[in-house]
């Protein structure tokens, strides 16, 4: 059993290949994050509207996206869209669509929460010292909203990266798929490869997510205490 399975990582380009696979995951997450933040801010502001039609519409979107497991959403887009509209979406494109839809929902809820949680007297005290509406937003409301929002948005990034691990299940070649290929090809030479490869992938994910979590916690502590 002690066949030093760790050596499998250093054979050929194996470790580099794993990192390349990880980059696929991270890249998809980052694209989806950027789309989500932009659309989420817009949608979040729309959601503070008092118009009942807008409220019902946005609420339905939010609830549907949030109640469904992300893997179900992936299946819907990857398998469902292909058949329904006869367009062949790659796994990667499907993933970006799904995670953007999901991220936008999450982000918009954060934005809405931050906006409505701003106490009324913050607006009032801004007015009281003679600022006009634009100045109140520029100097008082927006800086405080941003401080509430940024740690939560960063936290959303780690959730997005973790969720992106699902794309191996719709056939995207990313870090887990590369890992499986390595395990497969060294099945005979290194029987314990699976332990090491999955262990390394586990810590690769940790290595990406943990610093981001730390940053989020640090900002949260500095700004919101």
């Amino acid at each position: 059993m002690q066949d030093l399975g760790i050596k499998v990582l250093f054979q050929g380009r194996n470790f580099i290949r794993l990192l390349e696979g990880l980059w696929v995951t991270v890249r998809i997450s980052l694209i989806a994050v950027i789309i989500s933040i932009v659309l989420g801010i817009v949608l979040g502001m729309i959601m503070t509207s008092k118009n009942p039609a807008i409220r019902i519409l946005t609420k339905t979107y939010l609830e549907f996206i949030r109640i469904m497991p992300q893997l179900v959403l992936l299946f819907l887009v990857y398998f469902g869209m292909t058949k329904a509209f006869n367009i062949n979406l790659s796994g990667e494109t499907s993933a970006i669509i799904v995670f953007s839809l999901w991220g936008t929902a999450e982000m918009s809820d954060l934005v809405r929460g931050a906006l409505i949680s701003m106490p009324k007297h913050q607006y009032e005290s801004g007015m009281a010292i003679g600022l006009n509406t634009v100045q109140v937003y520029k100097y008082i409301i927006i800086p405080q909203t941003v401080r509430r929002l940024v740690p939560l948005a960063i936290n959303l990034v780690t959730r997005m990266i973790k969720t992106t691990s699902l794309i191996v299940l719709i056939g995207v070649v990313e870090v887990v798929k590369v890992g499986q290929q390595i395990i497969e090809s060294s099945r005979l030479t290194v029987p314990s490869a699976a332990l090491w490869v999955y262990g390394v992938i586990y810590f690769l994910y940790f290595g990406v997510c943990y610093p981001i979590s730390l940053l989020s916690a640090k900002l949260e502590k500095r700004w919101n205490s």
Binding site: M1, I67, P69, F75, L76, L195, Y205, F206
Partner: protein, 219 residues
Amino acid sequence: MDYEFINDIISLYIEAGILTFRIALLGIVGAVVVGLLCSLIKYYRVPVLQKIVGAYIELSRNTPLLIQLFFLYFGLPKIGIMLSSESCAIWGLIFLGGSYMAEAMRSGLEAVADIQVESGLSIGLTDFQVARYILLPQAITVSVPAFLANIIFLIKETSVFSAVALADLMYVAKDLIGLYYKTDEALLVLVLSYAVILLPISAVFTIAERKLRYAGFGN
């Protein structure tokens, strides 16, 4: 849409749904136990153990369940630890959920002011009595919303169990798509299945949370 086909496959989904539900239940109960223990260890700053718990929480929260499962299911057998799909799923859920529950409980514990504890001590209660009659009842009330959100989160996470060959809802759907190419039907029933499981739970939780928020003590 092939309704006859849907009629035929519904029983497959019900079976898979029950399996998902059973595993989720075991996993969540386990996660609550682990979470409670971890939160108390962190709150009371138990030496050594609090470091271990801290490391566990970071590891668990910063890695995807799917990778945790792959490690359990494909990795561990190489050092002689064989787990069935079902055990993997349950342990994976406990490992993941334990840290989320711990954080929910801990924020509740920390929300109880230190002077409340001192007040309990000052009427001569022991540390254990203070924890039981004063600290925990107040902490749990604060933790409930996060606690309920975690339960929904964990149920949703069960959807990745098909990756370790557990015959859950996703597994059935994928099978039907692969075998019969009945994509629309398979997906429709899949979405409906999760809706049937999650919507009522979510609705009940929302009501419970609202009741708690507005009721407080003595209104």
